[in-house]
Symmetry: D2
């Protein structure tokens, strides 16, 4: 039985981790960490867990925690994991960090986009970017996993096959992304009140969103070229789900059949990436509550561009589900263990 | 392995059955019945099942179906199951009928409220009302289960302990219920369009809703008195969930502690009924996607009334989940098998 | 031109007052009061007012304000208006208080239900309860108007005709009310975040909600009997709208036609109360953005009860619209001036 | 008093026309046309109009209608207006067509994208594209107005200043648009049911949507170059609102200040186009129920692209409001008459 601790278990991603791990036959949650609800019953914060989770919330003491568990998930804001991690900690437990602290290899880039000083640059090098579909082997032997961001996961997996195939101009990529409101977190802000979000859609962080360099870095690795992209996130009045609509210029003539063949080959062995039938657009409703990413591609001959689309649940494949997928790899379990729940509709 | 067939698998309740049974380790779905989508891929109707369900939709031929499976779920409109069932069918398979056809013991009452002639009155007597919490033993040996209605399940379980305890006037009960829109089905009607339902709430079927006699009958059994109630359903702009707020006059003086003791005793061994802590109101968000019913009770000393509240997912405990609970009992499996998924939030 | 000041103009009700008064040909808003946004542009708080309201938010100095305007609206939490009002103020301006401070004549009742000490009990007597449909004449000559609460307005107008006619048992009344989320205000609370409210419904304030004594008091006046009611509000995932479903025991035999005649007579001269056709249930979508209240009544012969229903926009007839209706009466304008905008659908 | 007739008054755009015209002091609606609801009370179809519209729905007989009114609005599907219009009709009334029939000057382009044969190509030449902000003078003298599409209005007004200024590559423009569900019309389709749209977002009509050539044609006029664009619409779970996020490559170096100056100059005299302050993104909630379009622009120096954004209410500026704006011009009224209602929030 893998003993797990969660720092940040009372955020939306942390709570989703709890939900998924409760259904994972090889894991026992030993530590429900929280900053705001210490000493309160977890189930009083999330009543869905009434009678399912009898535990009381504890704090964020990673040094103590690493004595009691085998794996720690940090589902916390940027900067916390990097301020807590140490050689001692890493020698005792696996760390799966759901924040951005170890996703970006270049510390200057991190500090510029996030506007904070990195607290543990010495661990950036060894941290493995936990996108299982591309880094499966490295993940197995890592001590520290940088769990990918929600937007980057969906953006990257939508674009990856064509980036790798060298078919698109990596400086022409435009990612127009749309997210449900759980992505904004559980903090009490006027902007996230029901009446402010409902019946509205808006772009935010235009040309400045922090997920931009993460997507660029991964696309650069995949394509072998420097990717410079436009990334525009939007807030959508729904709880869960991310939809990516990405555009790129083709660098050579290609048919839609050829495009489809490239996607099929790229994802034929992937259990969580579903390449949809021709003409079917991804919709977030079809992946809700699951670890699946639905992707598709469309050629526009008039403009010599491709439209690449992806849909996933931001809290599952975009956060907690992917974290468990990484944990499975770290502990030698089947990658899909505890993650095969079908999407919930409607 | 239990072989299951679903007639009406392309409605919302039918699709929820598919979702739940896909996660049930002892069941294999052999027949995806549908009236509207025969010969089409099930996953083209519900894209969430893409790559999970490779099957093609078949028709509603119960005589053929009963040769191929062990249990048939009929998730169809009123009147269909009773028109298909026969002694031959019942001799070969267990039938779990999610429609109202066999819920009401008095055929005149059924025909009056439903406005249709009952096609198989000869089977009403033996049919068992599949509310596991009260009819567990009878269910185990039944051939034909009348799976309870969504509103009746939530209404009854909210009121049951006080009805049974003889503490409330069974002619004073008022049930004000609120349901998500999946309860209205998947038929293409203007009234159920997004823009018609969104940003609105309304009562419907006031003093005439068909679930009224079903609730009355079960409350009469529980209390040993004739229950005559007001039942008012409302349509709420959300996908899933039923909330019941019920009122009744107390017939004797009682404290809130005594009331709570009665509920605790009634539900202490029930795995799917969660009696909440004092002061906590049930909310549908805390049960979504799960088979749980959350209930609570409040004494109003000023008016000498009790307010009894319940929340559940209409598609799970109110339909597909309860049907699987019944199936588990019918086949000697643990009652909770395949049904312990925690509620999905948010 | 009537010069108006709004204290609390940056709440939802305050902003709705701004919207309505911008379309009122006889009013000019001279003061946008706010506690949280002093010195900020009003249109930076509510971007819908960009280029329509060039003003900067000011504070809550009622003594200064009463020198500059003819009417002051206080759209603030309980306790503020009663702490600011004075004989000097009342001698100079009309006050329309959207809070509960002057709605309840018995100060003990107020202090018990609201849990605060009343700051100006000396003005309670003269304050007029601003429900135009029943107090039209008194309002015209008042200095201080207690603008009715949202739930009380809708509850009272749904029940009023039968209460006045003496047809219902005033101790049997049960009001089950449902409100959109703008009724919860614009404060930054976790409970009101999008993801917490969306896809859920709950009761709150069960048997303890502060609007209970307000409804009871007005129903007692109307019926000439002491009304003791159950009032249960619910939070609904929509921005605007209140729906009331009320139940009462009949004290004599009556036909539905007789019931309808009573409502027709009660409301035949009212411009903002629409008594719907037989069989049509009120729905909040049909009154959104307007000052209308839609009501209807249904006899349930089986239970000898009536079901009385009402729907209105909580921010208009339940707050800002009714306040303007009161203002029109106070200043001798046509009661409907600036209030005849048709409901916005969808 | 202008006498108006509406063909298609029982669709969402038609009903919005009714709402707006009821508040227009110079117009009287004489004819409520409908295909589905002939001889039924208009207010029984749209209960918001109860007691406000006493009229009965009539048919679509344009020849009869043109004898009785001064202006006809056709808020109908493609192909109807062009099949009804004639020289006789145009000699008697002004026609404002809310469908696409007369928006595209090249009949082959129309027939290719719409897949139907044009019924009145002889009137295409004289029809004026009713985008008041660019065709104000031509509109005043027209007999037949092609009211712009919802997506084209918002897309064009977001991009127009830079297209006209020659600053962007007209073959690089990508329009990623998001619309509320009222844009899908009031037809009873499974895809538009509440539970299918709620909690989801999807792209549709990718690379094939019919509004593409309309946007291209208008951008070509504005820029003097051939525009070839990508246009991708998305369905958003909200009733109203369109948000456009458009991207284009700059053809010369420019500062954000210069970009802002160009927008300011372009729209400084426009009453319904609000160029927002720097850093403020358009959001659909801020324009709901109003005729305003909010636009803004952002320079991305990293990618040498501009992001152009616009938000408006698809039923008002995108349909009925713009139609009334055109009517005002046609009849010599102030362009803003009946259209200055502030946006409704929340």
């Amino acid at each position: 039985m893998i003993r797990a601790g969660i720092i940040g278990s009372t955020g939306y991603a942390g709570q989703e981790l709890v939900r998924i791990l409760l259904g994972h036959k090889d894991v026992e949650i030993k530590w429900y960490g929280s900053r705001s609800y210490i000493d309160q019953a977890y189930a009083s914060v999330f009543q869905n867990m009434f009678q399912l989770v009898p535990d009381i919330c504890k704090g964020e003491d990673l040094e103590q925690l690493c004595e009691e568990v085998d794996v720690v998930f940090t589902a916390t804001p940027q900067g916390l994991c990097s301020s807590l991690v140490s050689e001692n900690v890493l020698s005792k437990v696996k760390i799966i960090d759901l924040s951005a602290d170890f996703r970006i290899k270049d510390v200057d880039t991190y500090e510029k986009w996030y506007g904070i000083k990195h607290q543990s640059p010495q661990f950036i090098e060894e941290a493995v970017y936990g996108l299982c579909e591309v880094n499966r082997d490295k993940i197995k032997n890592a001590r520290l996993i940088a769990n990918p961001g929600c937007y980057p996961t969906c953006s990257f997996l939508s674009i990856y096959p064509l980036a790798k195939a060298g078919l698109i101009d990596m400086k022409s990529v435009i990612v127009d992304a749309k997210s449900g409101t759980s992505g904004a977190g559980r903090g009490a802000k006027v902007a996230n009140l029901y009446c402010e979000v409902n019946e509205s859609i808006k772009a935010y962080g235009v040309a400045t969103h922090r997920h931009t360099p993460e997507i660029e870095e991964q696309l650069s690795y995949a394509s072998g070229q420097e990717a410079v992209i436009n990334f525009t996130p939007h807030l959508v009045p729904m709880n869960r789900g991310i939809l990516v609509t990405a555009y790129a210029n083709l660098v050579k003539d290609v048919t839609e059949e050829e495009l489809r063949k490239i996607y099929e080959d790229a994802y034929k062995d992937e259990q969580f990436v579903r390449f949809l039938n021709a003409g079917v657009c991804p919709e977030t409703r079809w992946v809700e509550g699951s670890n699946y990413v639905d992707v598709n591609v469309k050629l526009d001959e008039r403009t010599h561009r491709v439209i690449m689309m992806g849909a996933m649940d931001n809290l599952v494949k975009g956060a907690a589900g992917q974290a468990v997928q990484n944990m499975n790899l770290l502990f030698g379990l089947p990658e899909t263990e505890g993650l095969l729940m079908p999407p919930v509709f409607p």
